[in-house]
Amino acid sequence: MSDEWKPKILGMVCNWCSYAGADLAGSARTQYPPDIRIVRVMCTGRLDMLFVLKAFADGADGVLVSGCHFGDCHYLEGNYKAAKRMFMVKSLLKNIGLEDKRFRMTFVSASEGVKWAKVVEDVVNVVKSYGPNPIAGFAANK
């Protein structure tokens, strides 16, 4: 193992667009950094704000939520509802002492493999620029 710090980034993505987009990046062998772990849900609408907060409390250095483009949701409007909630999460993060850019919501369609790779690369770079999650110890001490 190299000693370089590796960020822990959680990706929560919808089955129909972003997960499929990530699969497409794979079929096309589009390379990106391996610092993200994916949890698949059927729709980003499924995501409770608590999932994101829980991840940060557990020590995630970054969280990415990715769904379908607006108007393309497999369930009509789950992504709108997710976006509303995730916007709230973002504003909350600042107030609990976390850089809000550690959290990102994006929209990647099933045909945007290249975009998926770019998004992950961006997220990894941003998180690396911030370093380890400062509140990770908070959860551990409790």
């Binding site: 499929a20 391996p34 999932f51 020590g59 789950g78």
Partner: protein, 696 residues
């Protein structure tokens, strides 16, 4: 959080017996999980980028893992057999396969899990190919560590998976095809022949689509009309096809087997004989006599002839239309009433007709919405719409067609003179990465341009076609032979893209400037006529229609198939299929083949009579529900209601309406909604497994 997990699970178990989606044995006391992990090499696809041994050894160290194994190809028969045997031998309660994407092989391994005696939903997949080995090909350490995490996350979920029973729903024994070009017609004819009642919806007043505008078809040189019109007549005649022209889809609700579709039948102002009879005019209605056409004072360009021929405000596109019913273009109609008088006793014309909304229920649907021609005037360097003698290939088709505006005599638009030197520009807007055109190959332009060259040589003595090309793509059956034939007939091929075209203001001749890349020198050629083999793009209404059916599109706007190789006619919406060019450029043989494939696929659920829906329903944990009703408003399918139960207000799910998105569960402030297979404890366990369960 750990506390929350326990309470939710307990509460769910209490209510589980009442729920149809969960198998009865789930309510039994859960044993300690015994998970089997199977790691696939996928040849070297996975094994080439990570250490399978390391990953397997790591999997064995996980608390809930009772067995771990690996195999070259887990999806093969011996691979699946390993799962079945291990379930029995090691008394496993859940299966994790670390392999490709669940979007590819989840059904395969669910079947193996079931064959081994477990409920098929006791299976979870760790994607270590598409989202690991293939995207971290040069980082073995990173890939191995990511695979370990992925397996740990999957095991955490597998330990909490429950037995679920898919819900079977009956399938309405009718189908719908949207678009009646050659793809839609073929699909509808096949469905009808299989005994399925089919609604065929076409937005134009008549059927036939793009193919009806063509003169000849390559490489056989069959006359397009000769092979298409019999099909059009068959569609009109078929007892199982309900043809709805001048109509489009207004809204779609429901799911596979049970789509409720509202069709907007646009006001065409003319009654069919049946409609006339329904209004009490027996023997009346339009018989296509054309008396109205003769008296109508309004003149408009005929779009079927690409604007090169006039039509009236009451019109048919061409004499062979199916159905042979006139249509009033109400945007142009001045309502003078001359047509009503001319129609006389047939009483076919109703100038006050309104759009009509018709509701139908169908089991499956096929989208065959076709294509439009890319507006090639955007490539300004070629002067389309600026120089009269620069025409598009579709205009060429109409000009060379015996039923076209010139009776099949190819003439220059500027002076009506027969052109002798004609330049064809292939890849006009296709394979164009400038941002103006389309990056893809439009696939049929090479071949029809060869055909055009042949037609000129055949029809015009002394004519000389010049084809400016990048590559000639003659990939189909007998296509390459056709290419040789056109070379032998004397067509001249110049490999190079045309830089620009200038018009001689006196003669209206065109000077074509290009680079001959085979001789590596610039060239200049004066010709009488330029034909642009324009790129194609998705038909104008495609985006609206696809959203109604919940179908995705690729970046170019073409509709996206479920899998390009394994499910090329299906979409991500179960019960909705694709036929023809709406999916991407196809020539006529490929279009018809894809239509037959789509028809076959669309007929399967109908012949089966019922389909299984994935049991990812929401359910209410009534003890925790405060009856606030937020979820009821959030549900996009109106699947949730508030009901009174034991003196309290609680939410109730109508499973037939629930599609399992989980939007309600994501919001519920009391954590009272349980999303089957994506429960809060399962997702939280995945997050925990990643962040606090791993190698520190």
């Amino acid at each position: 959080m750990a506390e929350k997990k326990v309470t939710k699970k307990d509460a769910a178990q209490k209510t589980a017996k009442k729920d149809a989606g969960i198998a009865p044995n789930m309510a039994k006391e859960e044993k300690k999980p015994r998970i089997g992990v199977f790691i696939c090499h996928c040849g070297t696809n996975i094994a080439g980028s990570m250490s399978i041994t390391d990953v397997q050894e790591y999997a064995k160290t996980l608390g809930d893992v009772a067995f771990a194994d690996n195999y070259q190809y887990m999806c093969s028969t011996p691979g699946q057999k390993k799962i079945e045997d291990a379930i029995k031998e090691h008394n496993l309660t859940g299966i994790v396969v670390a392999a490709c994407s669940p979007r590819l092989h989840e059904p395969t391994f669910r079947t193996a899990t079931k064959e081994g005696g477990l409920n098929p939903f006791r299976f979870e997949m760790a994607n270590i190919r598409e989202q690991n080995s293939w995207v971290h090909m040069h980082d073995s350490e990173g890939a191995t560590s990511k695979a370990k995490d992925a397996i740990r996350i999957a095991v955490a979920k597998a330990a909490l998976l429950q037995d679920l029973i898919p819900k079977s729903v009956p399938v309405e024994p009718t189908a719908m095809v949207v678009g009646a070009g050659v793809a839609g017609m073929q699909a509808a004819l096949d469905l009808a022949a299989a005994g399925i009642k089919t609604y065929l919806i076409e937005q134009e007043p008549s059927i036939g689509g793009r193919m009806s505008q063509l003169d000849k078809t390559f490489p056989t040189l069959d006359c397009s009309q000769c092979i298409l019109t019999p099909k059009m007549v068959d569609v009109g005649r078929s007892k199982n096809i309900e043809l709805m022209t001048y109509s489009n889809v207004d809204s779609v609700e429901g799911y596979i087997g049970n789509f409720d579709v509202t069709i907007r039948k646009k006001a065409r102002g003319v009654l069919t004989p049946d409609e006339a009879e329904a209004r009490g005019f027996v023997g009346g209605g339009c018989n296509g006599c054309g008396d109205c056409d003769a008296v109508c004072p309004v003149i408009k360009p005929n779009n079927f002839e690409v604007g090169m021929k006039p039509r009236k405000a009451i019109y048919i596109n061409h004499p062979q239309v199916v159905p042979l019913i006139y249509t009033i273009d109400f945007e142009s109609c001045v309502k003078c009433g001359l047509c009503v008088t001319a129609c006389g006793d047939k009483k076919a014309i109703d100038l006050e007709m309104q759009d009509e909304l018709i509701k139908v229920k169908v089991g499956t649907a096929i989208l065959a919405t076709g294509y439009d021609i890319f507006p090639i005037e955007k490539k300004e360097e070629w002067g389309y719409k600026k120089y009269e003698n620069v025409i598009s290939s579709l205009e060429f088709e109409r000009l060379i067609c015996a039923s076209g505006p010139t009776g099949g005599h190819l003439v220059r638009p500027s002076d009506g003179v027969t052109p002798k030197k004609i330049a064809f520009l292939l890849c006009a807007g296709s394979r164009d990465n400038t941002g103006v055109g389309k990056p893809y190959c439009s696939r049929f332009c090479c071949m029809y341009s060869l055909k055009h060259a042949h037609q000129i040589i055949e029809k015009i003595p002394g004519a000389q076609p010049y084809l400016f090309y990048m590559d000639i793509r003659s990939f189909g059956k007998m296509y390459e032979e056709f290419y040789y034939r056109i070379q032998d007939e004397g067509a001249k091929f110049i490999r190079g893209r045309v830089a620009n075209i200038l018009e001689d203001p006196e003669t209206k001749n065109l000077k074509v400037y290009a680079d001959d890349t085979l001789l590596d020198r610039p060239m200049e050629l004066e010709v009488d006529l330029v034909v642009l083999a324009s790129a194609v793009e998705p038909a104008a209404d495609t985006n609206r229609t696809r959203k109604l059916f919940g179908v995705s599109c690729s970046m170019d706007g073409w509709l996206l198939e479920a899998h390009p190789k394994l499910n090329p006619c299906g979409t991500t919406t179960a019960g909705v299929f694709l036929a023809g060019v709406c999916q991407g450029p196809k020539d006529i043989p490929d279009t018809v083949a894809s239509a037959e494939g789509a028809a076959s696929a669309a007929s399967i659920p109908i012949h089966m009579g019922e389909v299984e829906l994935e049991p990812y329903f929401a359910m209410c944990i009534e003890d925790k529900c405060a009856g606030c009703g937020m979820c009821v408003k959030l549900c996009p399918y109106s699947a949730l209601d508030l009901i009174e139960k034991d003196g309290r207000t609680v939410m109730q799910v109508t499973e037939a309406k629930c599609k399992g998105c989980g939007t309600c569960g994501g919001f519920c402030p009391g954590g009272a909604i349980w999303m089957q297979h994506f429960t809060t404890p399962q997702i939280v366990a995945q997050i925990d497994a990643f962040l606090v369960g791993g190698e520190q």
